[in-house]
């Protein structure tokens, strides 16, 4: 294949990137420079640094962190056990299955489950604990988000555990390492790339969660995603919505850079420049 045909094959890819990656980002930055009345201004950026939006940013990061941490806590052992089971693919399928159901439907199902007269509270009543407020609390918000994101955490960890050469574990055991040391020194470091991409796949969407904040948390949790939705759909203040989106994009880029492994990070950089 000579250079010319190779360049030719690049065209659709470049067009795709330009139309669906570069152009939207440029548009978002462009919109962020106008106020509600359509005048050019940097005021939106100044507004972002007021206490209201700063507090919102902090709480977004805090909840995204909680969601990621709990997802990891559940997903790692689950993925580990999965690699040990007989019918791996079947179990994996069962874990992925819920992600085929529409998000809104799942959220509504939790409304029924967690309600004052819902299933969970009937069980609590039966056990003797009594009815608790579950819906519209931080707990229900983090719980439902973790439930929704968990397949995205399990898959990469499962894959990296699968790729792990078992002879390395045997070697560690042969050389006298305890199971815990084997895990800490051999298994975990070698599956770190899976953990990292799992965290990326959960943390980044969790930062901009909306809808669940209303349905499950009853707007008691306000994230940047909620604010963007409000500004675009209700206030029609596209400028402020776009400004928040710009900060989210920056935050995501920073997270990608920090969590990408150093060697791969360098390669990614050179690719970006080429584009």
């Amino acid at each position: 294949m000579n250079a010319r045909t190779r360049n030719f094959y690049l065209v659709p890819y470049l067009l795709w990137i330009a139309l669906f990656v570069i152009a939207p980002i440029v548009l978002i930055v462009y919109y962020s420079l106008f106020n509600v009345e359509g005048q050019f201004t940097f005021g939106n950026y100044a507004k972002f640094f007021t206490p209201v939006y700063m507090q919102m940013t902090l709480s977004s990061f805090w909840y995204a962190f909680l969601i990621t941490a709990f997802s990891l806590l559940v997903a790692y052992p689950a993925a580990y056990l999965l690699t040990k089971t007989k019918h791996k693919q079947l179990w994996l399928l069962l874990i992925i299955l819920p992600s085929w159901i529409n998000l809104l439907l799942k959220a509504y199902a939790f409304l029924g489950l967690f309600g004052t007269y819902g299933f969970v509270n009937s069980v609590l009543e039966l056990v003797g604990i009594g009815t608790q407020q579950i819906l519209f609390t931080d707990f229900s918000f983090v719980f439902v988000s973790v439930y929704i994101f968990i397949p995205f955490m399990i898959l990469p960890i499962f894959n990296s555990l699968e790729e792990l050469n078992p002879s390395l574990i045997y070697a560690a055991r042969d050389l006298g390492a305890s199971p815990w040391t084997t895990f800490r020194r051999v298994v975990f470091p070698l599956t770190l790339s899976g953990v990292k991409s799992g965290c990326q796949a959960v943390f980044i969407p969790a930062l901009s969660l909306f809808m669940i904040t209303r349905l499950i948390a009853g707007n008691r949790v306000i994230t940047l995603g909620t604010a963007i939705e409000q500004h675009f759909l209700v206030t029609q203040d596209w400028g402020m919505g776009a400004t928040i989106a710009v900060f989210l994009i920056i935050a995501m880029a920073v997270i990608m850079l920090l969590t990408g492994s150093r060697k791969r990070g360098l390669q990614d950089d050179s690719k970006k420049k080429a584009v």
């Binding site: 509600v36 209201v52 507090q55 004052t116 407020q133 209303r214 009853g218 604010a227 206030t235």
Partner: protein, 356 residues
């Protein structure tokens, strides 16, 4: 590669077949152009029997499509590519659509039944002289409460701040409604734009936070009917629906006043069958039809003559057809302009962020 080409060819052939089939089905059902009328309305917001009757009377085919928010509807009409002949937006959406030139002026000579509408619902600030819109239903914003879970009667908005309601209130997710409630409780106008008054309302609202269980959207109907909370701030239309689901609940508009809202029939600029659209609006204005529709939907009709055809317990229900004393205190939302609206939303966002 060959397989890929084959796959694409198959997909193309199937989709072409589908397109032909839809075109065929449409024409066989009489959905050709000329004798159809496309109505774009809220879901479950008209008696389907009336549509059938209209079709028979006018020899027209009605295509009925639905939307679930004013914003979605406006976006769809703005972008074109649709042929909606009649739509039924709320009053603030009408003033916005009017400004953006999305509406066609109405020919009142083709609407003789307009005479039956209660004059107090005509010539309002959002459409002076009813050049573009005709009232369809109206209502208020008030409180739905469960007498089994609370002893309060909610004659005043201030009763919402009562300590017994801790974690018992559901609010609807609307900036104007919630901030408006704060303003009303302080005896200010719903359309107040004075910064000091708005800040006062916001400070007052933040003391309501411990009582607020959640701020939700359409789910509020289901949650209140399931007795998830004792009290809810809702539109009267939703209240009627909630009360038909759970008969224990009651609705009240506090005495300080509240919002008066309208859903009005309009002809969007996308209309193809303007003649038919007028005929439909006039058909819906007929007192008997209006009464039949009001009975089916459960909202309040602005048609004065239609009240005579409604059962006495519906037409005399003070909760949905409030008396003169309260009506005089109801206010229509004025279009405050984008900047003020954005300020209202900012305040609402701050209220939401206020933690217990």
């Amino acid at each position: 590669m060959k397989q890929l080409v084959r796959l694409f060819a198959a997909v193309l052939i199937v989709s072409a077949g589908m397109m032909y089939l839809t075109a065929y089905l449409n024409s066989s059902q009489g959905y050709s152009s000329g004798n159809t009328l496309t109505i774009y309305n809220w879901g479950d917001y008209i008696d389907p029997e009336l549509l059938k009757e209209f079709e028979q009377e006018q020899g027209m085919k009605v295509i009925y499509q639905t939307f679930d928010s004013n914003e979605a509807m406006m976006t769809k009409i703005e972008q074109g590519g649709t042929t909606f002949d009649v739509s039924i937006p709320s009053e603030y959406a009408i003033s916005k659509m009017k400004e953006e030139g999305l509406l066609l002026p109405l020919d009142h000579s083709k609407l003789p039944n307009l005479q039956y509408i209660d004059p107090s619902f005509l010539d309002l600030s959002f459409d002076e002289g009813n050049k573009y819109s005709i009232p369809y239903f109206w209502g208020t914003v008030g409180i739905v409460f469960n007498p089994e879970l609370t002893d309060l009667k909610f004659e005043s908005w201030n009763e919402l701040w009562d300590k017994s309601l801790r974690n018992q209130i559901l609010l609807l997710d609307g900036a104007r409604e919630v901030i408006g409630m704060g303003l009303n409780s302080l005896h200010y106008s719903l359309n107040d734009t004075e910064e000091a008054h708005l800040q006062e309302a916001k400070t007052k609202l933040s003391t309501l936070t411990p009582n607020v269980k959640a701020i939700v959207g359409d789910e509020i109907k289901m949650l209140l009917a399931n007795e998830e909370a004792a009290v809810g701030l809702v539109w009267s239309g939703d209240a009627a629906e909630i009360m038909s689901e759970n008969e224990k609940l009651d609705y009240v508009v506090p005495k300080e006043g509240s919002n008066l809202w309208f859903d009005n029939m309009v002809i969007p600029k996308t209309a193809k069958n303007i003649e038919g659209a007028h005929a439909f609006i006039n058909f819906m204005l007929d007192p008997e039809h209006a009464a039949q529709n009001a009975e089916y939907v459960g909202y309040s009709t602005p048609n004065a003559k239609a009240l005579e055809y409604l059962p006495a317990d519906v037409a005399g229900d003070e909760r949905f057809y409030p008396g003169k004393e309260l009506t005089s205190k109801l206010e229509v939302y004025e279009n405050l302009g984008k900047r003020m609206l954005s300020h209202y939303n900012e305040l609402f966002l701050e209220f939401k962020m206020h933690r217990k």
